[in-house]
């Protein structure tokens, strides 16, 4: 798949070889027709591969019967939106929407608010323990869910927080907060230090500098951290599946699984729900996607 339109016949030695030049070297931006066609071909195939599973899900969601996914041809003649109507009217769809939003927004708000000052501190100041803090922030991000899920379950059971929104938000904060701090550090690093200096010269305390000057400038960075926390919390499966027990408190990630149980598999309804979830989330994702990528890699490279 990693087809590049690059001829690989030229010697891979050092560049300086004045003698025995090939007669003509293709310059940048210049491509033969064939290379152009090949690029388009590969990209088209790749796009189809990327699109197909999602498109297929949409198509299946239009079939009225739960075994229609085995006979996709039949769906064409009896396409209907009944599944959507049923999901919206007779399932817990809106309960799931409510829980998903409460949990994801709660995580986002707490994550960004708690992490903001720390991101600033580790971006601007060097203090004893700095390296240790950065190390902890980094390591926390790579915690496999298996490390915390058992003790968290025990602790939350003791506190009667299993099957509560607060419990799930707290669990998500354990990853969202360090991650936001890390992302925000990357963003604060790009704000010129002269601004801080100007603030300090004019008599602001470090806190004043942060709240009055830097925080307003850092809105895009805060937004990226927020988006990221939101999307991560929204799509989380393991903790939500384990900690949310009553079916009105399921987030979408759990609710979707509940369509397929040992006794019954309502695949048509599941597909319809999946599409209803996917549309707003992907729209949101496309809106923020550019900032997201820049933020993710900037945080990492400057560690």
């Amino acid at each position: 798949m990693s087809t590049t339109a690059v001829p690989t016949t030229a010697p891979a030695g050092p560049v300086a070889e004045p003698a025995a030049k090939p007669p003509r070297i293709r310059r940048r931006g210049e491509r033969s027709r064939a290379a152009s066609l090949a690029s388009h071909g590969v990209l088209t195939v790749a796009s189809l591969v990327a699109l197909f599973p999602v498109a297929w899900l949409v198509y299946l969601s239009l079939g009225p019967d739960k075994d229609d996914y085995l006979h996709p041809g039949r769906i064409w003649s009896k396409m209907t939106l009944d599944n959507y109507a049923f999901v919206l009217q007779h399932t817990n769809f809106f309960d799931w929407l409510k829980s998903s939003l409460i949990v994801s927004l709660g995580t986002t708000v707490i994550g960004v608010m708690v992490a903001a000052t720390t991101g600033y501190a580790v971006s601007r100041m060097r203090f004893p323990g700095y390296r240790k803090l950065m190390w902890v922030l980094l390591v926390t991000q790579m915690f496999p869910i298996a490390v915390l899920i058992v003790p968290m379950y025990q602790i939350l059971s003791d506190l009667q927080l299993v099957d509560s929104y607060l419990g799930l938000v707290l669990v998500y904060c354990s990853t969202a907060v360090p991650y936001c701090a890390w992302l925000l550090k990357g963003y604060f690093d790009t704000i010129p230090f002269e601004i801080d200096e100007a603030g300090r010269v004019d008599g602001l305390s470090p806190f004043g500098t942060f709240f009055r000057l830097i925080l307003p400038l850092a809105r895009p960075g805060l937004a990226v951290a927020g988006f990221y926390s939101f999307i991560t919390a929204f799509g989380e499966v393991a903790f939500a599946s384990t900690f949310m027990l009553s079916d009105t408190k399921y987030t979408f990630a759990v609710g979707l699984q509940s369509f397929i149980s040992e006794h019954d598999a309502q695949r048509h309804l599941m597909a319809a729900t999946a599409v209803l979830v996917a549309i707003p989330v992907s729209a949101f994702f496309y809106l923020v996607q550019k900032n997201l990528v820049a933020g993710l890699t900037a945080g990492g490279t400057k560690g």
Binding site: W56, L57, V150, S205, A274, T301
Partner: protein, 334 residues
């Protein structure tokens, strides 16, 4: 590591300066740095309460024989006290070299390594290829880009179900293969094909992130470098090898590390694709989850011990990876 300049004081760090005594340092430190500590206090508290305390508690649980039958629980109105006891390092010993340790740990361990290597390799090379294609002056490349990002835009828990429909016994994939008179493997039942489909689905999900990050890296390479290379008569391959690849170094080392960590910890794909039905295709993370929550009685202690082992593997790997990167950096500097 490189010498960083302290932006607050303009002092260079990394230079060796004589250190004052400990007591003096603490006192000075408090006066000089109290605002820094005040600023990191919220995160320190959150990490302490939500990460370090559960981590410590989890570590303690791994030294006991806790399971769902002997931990404190409430049945109806009856509160039952915890009765599990301390058994030292037995859990770890049992996991690593107890009877049937191969089936329970090492086979999953090997499969996890293979899974991580194959997935990240595929992510990276497919992502790089697509990024190079998209970095050309092509008609419609924004459109391609939007389509290619789709697997990342749609939540994983949604797309995995799409794949499940496609890979089911008489699903579209097997219908298509049958129509082409090719063999139709049992994607979700046969061990090899379970693993194959897990890798396939995860590759599908993970390529867009690599592609978009590497495309960002490609676009940030200074154009004058290519011009200079061209003046020197470098061929397209040489420009790729000596300008593009070094220019991508910092981005790719980051995304590969992130990719390895994420893939190693990938839970949703395997869990949602197979549920509890495929013991052989579980990587360590999902296997630990299975031990702790997917079976009766729930074996909390072993599950937590798996978690600790996983974390240890990741930390060791990451520190070696960073050291290796730094070593390469120094070689480049010379």
């Amino acid at each position: 590591m490189t010498v960083t300049i302290d932006r607050a004081t303009g002092k260079r760090r990394g230079d060796r300066t004589p250190q004052p005594g400990l007591g003096r340092r603490l006192k000075d430190g408090y006066q000089k740095y109290w605002y820094a500590y005040a600023m990191i206090a919220p995160v320190a508290v959150v990490i302490g309460v939500l990460v370090l305390y559960p981590l410590g508690y989890g570590l303690y649980l791994t030294l006991t024989d806790a399971n769902s039958l002997n931990t404190a629980r409430t049945i109806g109105v009856n509160e039952i006290e915890a009765t599990y006891k301390f058994i030292g390092l037995d859990n770890y010993a049992d996991i690593l070299w107890g009877p049937t340790a191969y089936d329970r740990f090492w086979s999953h361990f090997i499969w996890t390594i293979v899974w991580t290597a194959v997935c990240v390799g595929l992510h990276f090379f497919i992502g790089l290829g697509l990024a190079l294609l998209l970095n050309q002056n092509l008609r419609g490349r924004t459109f391609y880009r939007l389509l290619l990002v789709l697997p990342w835009a749609v939540p994983t828990f949604v797309t995995v179900f799409g794949w499940r429909f496609m890979l089911a016994d008489a699903g579209i994939v097997n219908s298509a293969l049958d129509w082409l008179h090719l063999p139709t493997p049992a994607w979700l039942e046969d061990t090899f094909w379970q693993r194959f489909s897990a890798v396939m689905v995860n590759t599908w999900c993970g390529v867009p992130f690599m592609m978009v990050s590497l495309l960002g890296g490609l676009q940030s390479i200074d154009n004058s470098l290519y011009e200079a290379a061209e003046m020197d008569g470098a061929s397209a391959w040489q420009r790729f090898r000596f300008v593009t690849l070094p220019g991508l170094r910092s981005v790719s080392s980051t995304v590969v590390l992130l990719g390895i960590i994420w893939t190693f910890n990938q839970f949703a794909v395997i869990f949602l694709l197979f549920g509890n039905s495929a013991p052989e295709a579980q990587i360590l993370v999902t296997w630990a989850y299975h031990l702790g929550f997917g079976q009766q009685p729930r074996d909390f202690a072993q599950s937590a011990a798996y978690g600790m082992l996983l974390l240890a593997i990741l930390i060791v790997f990451t520190s070696f990876y960073r050291r290796w990167l730094n070593r390469n950096e120094q070689q480049l500097a010379i």
